[in-house]
């Protein structure tokens, strides 16, 4: 029984961090119609920034967390302004540019921090919650709580603030939004910054749990693409629901079988959904 509870909590944590990453990806696709292949690397930059500011400069985890969000947001905005803005009517060109950014960030991290360096970030809340033989590190619960907090804050912003309305308008119909005087440039930049910050936050929250390496973004982006397809591109709600479904499914299969079977099963789940509904669970149906 205790084993079951542990697995449920572990899958909740996996769902939380995946949801943060995938919502960021869905936001970018909704607003700018491109899949950001470098999204996993922004997750990685978040983890490295947390180590650099939190541990290496010794300012403590939460300073590192704030620094991670800031650094990734600035990086996201810079990528939009310098690179993606010039390729607005060229989706394939933008795709290649994000792959270029992916390669640069990976090589940069390996160069500056060393391929072999073992960076350790201590969890802000140490210790273990143990209830009758079942024990779960507090930090994992913090990750779940933080992710829920961030996602609710995001939905509130999108639903109520003027910025949120403008973002959703651009996602709905770029030209119509333009006609109403919404500056596409400003919205795209802030959407990219927000999306990058979400990935950075996920990276920062997971820093004490996973191995920090220049290639930690690779499995994250692959899972994110699978989940965004399951949820239907561009739909934020679909992304969150799909993140929970996929992560729970993956964690349980990897515990009861092994992670290779879990990978194959995850891919088959994605294919199954696509076969039944070729535009994802909540994606806009489009004539095939």
């Amino acid at each position: 029984m205790q084993f079951l509870v542990e697995t449920v909590l572990n899958s909740a944590m996996a769902s939380a961090s995946t949801a943060l990453v995938v919502v960021g990806l869905a936001l970018i696709f909704g607003v700018m119609r491109i899949e950001n292949f470098a999204h996993g690397e922004l997750y990685m930059v978040g983890a490295y920034a947390t180590w650099l500011f939190g541990t290496s400069f010794g300012a403590g985890y939460w300073v590192g967390f704030a620094a991670a969000i800031l650094v990734t947001a600035v990086l996201g905005a810079a990528i939009e302004i310098l690179l993606l803005r010039r390729l607005r009517n060229n989706p394939m060109g933008a795709l290649i540019v994000t792959i270029g950014v992916l390669l640069i960030l990976q090589t940069g991290a390996a160069w500056f921090f060393g391929i072999n360096s073992n960076l350790l970030v201590d969890a802000p809340v140490s210790g273990v919650l143990s209830l009758g033989g079942f024990n779960m590190p507090w930090h994992r619960i913090v990750v779940i709580a933080a992710a829920v907090l961030i996602l609710t804050a995001l939905t509130v912003i999108l639903r109520t603030t003027k910025f949120g309305w403008a973002l959703r308008a651009v996602a709905q119909d770029k030209d119509a939004a333009n006609l109403q005087g919404i500056s596409i440039g400003r919205i795209s930049m802030s959407a990219m910054a927000l999306s990058a910050a979400l990935a950075g936050a996920a990276g920062s929250l997971m820093a004490p749990i996973v191995r920090i390496s220049p290639f930690m973004g690779q499995p994250v982006i692959i899972t994110a693409f699978i989940v965004i397809i399951l949820g239907g591109i561009g739909s934020m709600e679909g992304a969150i629901v799909a993140a929970v479904i996929y992560s729970t499914f993956f964690t349980f299969v990897s515990v009861y079988f092994d992670t290779t079977i879990a990978n194959v099963a995850g891919l088959c789940l994605m294919l199954a959904v696509l076969i039944v509904k070729p535009s994802g669970l909540m994606g806009k149906a489009q004539k095939v």
Partner: protein, 425 residues
Amino acid sequence: MSRINLHLTRRQALVGAVATTSALAMPSVLRAANKIVKVGALAPLTGDLALWGIPAKNGAEVWANQVNKTGGINVKGERYDVQVVSFDGAYVAEKTLQGARAFVDQDVKYTMVIGGDDWSALQDFSNRNKMLTSTLYVSDLNPTSKYLLAPVEVHPFYFGLGVEYLRKVEPNLKTAALCAQDDITGRTSLAYWRAGFDAHGFEIVSDAYFDNSTTDFAPIVSSMLQAKPDTVCIDTTYPSVALLLVEQLFTQGYKGRILHAGLELLPDMVARTSKEFMEGSIAFFPRFDDPNINASANGFSDAAGFYKQFEKQFPKQWNNTSWEFPGCLEVWKQGVETAGTFEPDDLLASLKANPPKHIFGAARWWGKELFGIDNALVGNWPIVAVKNGSVEIVEIGDQAAWFEAHKAIVEKRFREEKLMPDQKR
């Protein structure tokens, strides 16, 4: 809106760029009195596995500088400086074969590979071109791998000794749980661990591989602990993965013994768990920052000095492979200097005739029963245990003797994992 048509078409621009950069690629000529002999580090320098490849290349360069400073290699009176050439095989067999071709073109006399997944493509090529090569995985050896040596480490042969020692010091332990990453390294070593546990009366209660892309290890550890093992073996997992596994074992209230190949990140493991938790954990590599390393690793000239020099040149980039490639070079140097030639066949004959010392002392060529060829340099190997937060050598065992005593069990377990020479695809 007329398109801005640059007079340069895309093809002309790209071709121009190719011309300039390849000019830069001309290797700079070394001003040296001695003649030059090239040795090749054919290892992944990009991608996940760069964490083995880059420290290995760096280690080889540090070793070469030290040897060149002390007059280089003496071949029948002629002095040669060692130049290390490298090629990024990205742990893909086909790319690694391209590297081998580049080395043959550059007349590289001795090639070092990590081995495992990326060796399969080199086999025929190395025989065809008499390419003397060293690998870190003894399981690469097979009846036709004439020019392939496993001179430094006979991973996973020392694991049998580890289980034997554990049985001796802790007679009451009954059950064992195993886990490893799902690649050739993991499969080969887990097969040997199983043989070890079978031989010494352990019951294996949990045995699973995890995918290389796994990031969160809590589920894996919780499924292992569900079987209530009193020994956990995390095999040859990468240093940082081993750290996460140990941390999960501590968090999830595990109270038994831990076995790992290297325990490279022991200081961090102690920081994340506790001295008491790590007490008695078993591994197979003394630490190079251990004050009396020179005494234990007497086959390696001035191990402590080498470590200091490496840390100076490549701060905080040390990994096991950092001394293993130099170990391979050390064996090759001894062979060349006794044989007085770089020519592969003569050098092989001389090496076989008088086996050089390997890092932990005297050794002999071995491997016929299991691999079909005696190309593994096997000697005694230390077992280290954690005492008060640091590792100490607690025993020196004879790997070949252990194998002779438990040959049947090992072959059964290797056959299960389809690792015997006749089962190779």
